[in-house]
Symmetry: C2
Subunit: 426 residues, 2 copies
């Protein structure tokens, strides 16, 4: 049995590596640069080691001709949103048309890309049929098995999670379940593609809303002069409280998937109330944080145009280089609106990638050491070596005007007070 994985990114690469322990795997990506790196054993996403990547049964390619003579195709391409927050299915479309060219009698195509309920049957399968001139359910078969990749998480990996597998017929369901059983801890079988699609998308909707709630509580408690951090810690002593922390919501999942579900809902003239309420709130957090920063400058009589600010952290999550849909850029742009110049430092992100995607030049953390910041520090992502407050003291020009925006509540309030910081915490 041969497997082709379409897309060699955060989802496809771990999958290809895992299956290559059991089968011959072709890992295809249209990004030639990515393929060239993988051929050298380099994963710039830092998910996998050279050893993992350089497996004899694993072929990386950008040549679609190698997609012939494959039994099972697994599509793992990104499903982002466009500038109007609507599903951008172009990559799913391309991948489906491409795979359609190569499938044959009894091929199985598995989709892993997150999408809205109904997308596989209403959007992808017709493309497969059109491109292949074969008939779904008779000539070829389709399953949906949502990825549960959690960037930077070493505990919940493909090997340790429960993998959902959904198909509309029992034969495909069993075959695909058996396949994933080789690489995952256990399988959750569901009796339709739609159920599997729905299960995936609501996971992130739930997280989005829960983070939005603590963000709103943070905004409210700030007005009431109550420390959110301590309230959440106390509430978390209840047996059924979910301990979320306020912050920016970025990345490829939580900030995107709710729009997919809402898109489908609106097609049915259902205008979601809860599903998008998290989005509405979380999309404004960057602006809120920037405004708090500006207010602290006023408090210390610092003219905005004279404030140079260091923003520490650019990736959407701690300790990883992943910058997809990072909301730190919101803070950067919002500060610009106030004529405040900010420099961004991050030890993990790929500088060239950020420049291309966001048009700004992120600096390595060591470059910080040559500078004196006049006014302010903005901490967004917490790394091991920025957890000591003393580390920051030296970067302020004026020791009496140390301003700290501690978005991630890294420091204890008492410590900030003792060190005479003017501060803001979420």
């Amino acid at each position: 049995m041969t497997i082709a994985v379409i897309g060699a990114g955060y989802v496809g690469l771990p999958l290809a590596i895992a299956f290559a322990k059991h089968h011959s795997v072709v890992c295809y990506d249209i990004n030639q640069g990515r393929i060239l790196q993988l051929l050298k054993g380099i994963d710039l996403n830092k998910q996998h080691s050279k050893n993992d990547i350089l497996n004899k049964k694993l072929f990386f390619t950008d040549d679609s001709n190698l997609l012939k003579k494959i039994d099972i195709y697994i599509i793992t391409v990104p499903t982002p949103i466009n500038l109007s927050n609507q599903p951008d299915l172009s990559m799913l479309e391309q991948a489906s048309l491409l795979v359609g060219k190569y499938i044959k009698k009894d091929s199985i195509i598995i989709y892993e890309s997150t999408t809205y309920p109904g997308c596989t049957e209403e959007f992808c399968i017709p493309l497969l049929e059109k491109s292949s001139q074969l008939k779904y359910g008779k000539d070829f078969f389709v399953a949906y098995s949502p990825e549960r990749v959690n960037p930077g998480d070493k505990i919940n990996t493909l090997q340790t999670i429960v993998k959902i597998v959904g198909a509309n017929d029992q034969k495909t369901l069993k075959a695909v379940g058996k396949l994933y059983k080789k690489i995952c801890k256990s399988i959750c079988y569901v009796n339709s593609i739609k159920i599997a699609e729905s299960a995936k998308v609501i996971e992130n909707v739930q997280r989005d809303i829960n983070i939005a709630l603590v963000n709103e509580l943070s905004v409210l408690f700030h007005k009431l002069n109550i420390p959110t951090n301590e309230v959440l810690k106390a509430a978390a002593t209840k047996w059924n409280f979910h301990y979320y922390k306020p912050g920016l919501v970025g990345g490829h999942c939580i900030g995107i998937d709710p729009y997919y579900l809402a898109y489908k809902a609106e097609q049915y003239n259902y205008f979601p109330q809860l599903i998008l309420s998290g989005r509405r709130f979380n999309e404004n957090m960057g602006r809120y944080i920037a405004t708090q920063t500006v207010q602290l400058l006023s408090k210390k009589n610092i003219a905005n145009s004279k404030a140079n600010i260091a923003i520490l952290g650019f990736s959407f999550k701690e300790n990883i280089p992943d910058c997809r849909n990072t909301k730190v850029i919101q803070i950067f742009h919002e500060l610009k609106n106030w004529k405040i110049k900010a420099e961004v430092f991050d030890p993990h992100v790929l500088i060239s990638e950020v420049r291309e995607e966001y048009g700004i030049t992120v600096k390595k953390l060591k470059e910080l050491k040559n500078k004196k910041f006049e006014k302010i520090f903005l901490v967004v992502s917490h790394k091991k070596y920025i957890k000591k407050l003393s580390f920051y003291n030296s970067f302020y020009k004026n020791k009496n005007k140390k301003i700290m925006i501690d978005v991630k509540n890294i420091f204890h309030e008492n410590e900030l007070k003792k060190n005479k910081y003017v501060y803001f915490q979420l």
Copy 2:
């Protein structure tokens, strides 16, 4: 040391019983009927046995003169909402004025009633001062320790939970913590009354929103013809998914506390988005369920006025008599708007209490057996002995028009189909 517990309800009674194992306790309630029952060892809320109640060191009374010569007062009165969904602090006011009459130098007053952040300091303490002519922080001291009573829950009880204790001075904090340590598993100390108030109120806000989300998903998936139940079960296989089930949200906490927090927020010109979004959705679920019922009647060509419906379950939660803020009444009234007559059956609730509070006569479950329902069954609360589908078959007049509204997803879809039910599930 002597303790007085003000309010002998769901919160006060367990507290009085627990403390009476260590101290003399006066348990005061203005409801004479309740006191007379407790003196006989009867708790109509069915939380406690005769043995627990009839303790020699525990005095039940409606005579406030017994509140003299008390060291510690614990106020546990209800904090409901009025018809405009605003805090009804009248009982808190009464209790504070009453206790104020009896406190003396070094008295400690502990509030357990759920309320908004700031209520104890801004509303209650001034009343204590006014009534006592003593000074808070100098003559008497106040702590806030939110109740975490979960009606019907035998696992998370006063004895097994972490109890939050908050006070604005360290001496009171320690004294009150030490007191509760005698009866609770462990204490979570927080450094202000406001933090403790906030921690309590957000716990229920979080639950409300999470239930509202699955309710919205249920409404949406019903339109998309996707079984919500199976989607939630599949999603729950993810390590960080919170498995809530759709349903009516009643009771004294979840459906009420968010209004308290919103009330405070609006005083600060902050109009909550997330905090109330759960309320908005959950308040409509009764109407939604009733509408689905009516649609099923149409499907079977049954005139509304000829449909007699049995509603099974009236309490706000399974297996308990607690009817506070039950939303089953919403279904009842909504059906009435469609000229549909419904009878309500519940084995646990106090019939007289429901009649007084809601103006309807709930019937015991055994009365069901003498009746034939022409058309429909509506199950709201699940009891052990209503989990068998066969139990219901006999109550339908027309075996070909069995309609089941299974709000709690008690039955598997396949079973309903096999038994030829026309059904609706959340």
